[in-house]
Point group: C2
Chain length 191, copies 2
């Protein structure tokens, strides 16, 4: 998505430790018009996959998922919650995620009542790096016997293992801006 | 907002400990059409207050803020982050919030670059009970010398101290569904 790539080049910040920050328009401040355009792009990419529900994870993923949901005819959005520890309830699907940026484990949780075997789930998130969060969401869908009809990320770093990991599962993955490489002086190259 | 009150009566769950859960359409699964209607309602309530930016707090607040922002002409949304501890950076405004539901203290943080003295801020959030989160957001605006032109909450419990606390500051507070009382058998009465 050229508009997004241009925005990342102009306003994204490359920080030490291979970190790409897009706080200026998605992860802290939100450019609502661009968000709407990203939602529309996800619709164009996945409209033939016929999802009946979008699954995402707090916090920034919520914004992206809502915008996409409208184009799909106002289908429901379910957002997974991140918790330091699992409450081990029978009413919740739980999967563990390792956060490489924060170097902690946490639990990804979705109440069972919001996912079931008849669901055709489109998973959307803001970032895809090692694919930990997305993998946890996929496993939760498997627990619920729901069908994952596709996965979408706003930004991915294609040189990390996330993209390949998701595609190796046979899942239709689409990325709006796939970063090929970044340099410490702030140069960003896209695939 | 009658539509919202009806939805809360039909799908809200009153849990022990005076907890109102609206996970079915806002705090875990999101009814995107209702969300849009709430955004429009906030616009109707605050259109004469001329905000140039909306400030909210992760996670569910983001959904509400985005929808409202569109009606105000796609003004930017800034969402405060919750952190277990402050990183004490010179680049961040920090205020402490006590969560009564979780009985923990955490820090509410906004990067300084996203708030300044020329801003006319509309603060929006999902819940208003004791007003801890909203008060932290107001204090962050004061730190930034920004003007708070109004505060809006989707749901408040008017018998707790939040509503009065915000109004006592002279701030224009609007609530879409103000709960007067709840009973353990699930009955909910609105103001």
């Amino acid at each position: 998505m050229k508009l997004l790539e241009d925005k990342i080049r102009a306003e994204g910040k490359v920080l030490p430790g291979d970190v790409l920050r897009i706080d200026n328009f998605l992860n802290h401040q939100i450019d609502v018009r661009l968000l709407e355009q990203m939602g529309r792009e996800f619709y164009e990419l996945f409209k033939d996959n016929n999802p009946n529900k979008i699954l995402t994870i707090e916090a920034s993923g919520i914004a992206v998922a809502i915008e996409a949901a409208k184009y799909f005819g106002y289908i429901p959005v379910v957002f997974a919650k991140k918790a330091a520890s699992s409450n081990m309830s029978n009413e919740i699907y739980v999967e563990q995620e390792h956060s490489y940026t924060k170097n902690v484990e946490f639990n990804v949780q979705v109440a069972k009542e919001y996912l079931n075997e008849n669901d055709r789930i489109l998973i959307l998130d803001d970032f895809l790096a090692n694919g930990e969060a997305m993998n946890a969401l996929i496993k939760i869908c498997h627990q619920a016997k729901a069908t994952v009809v596709g996965c979408g990320a706003v930004v991915s770093k294609s040189y990390q293992k996330g993209e390949q990991r998701i595609r190796d599962m046979g899942i239709d993955l689409k990325v709006l801006a796939s970063v090929k490489c970044m340099s410490d002086d702030g140069q960003i190259e896209f695939n």
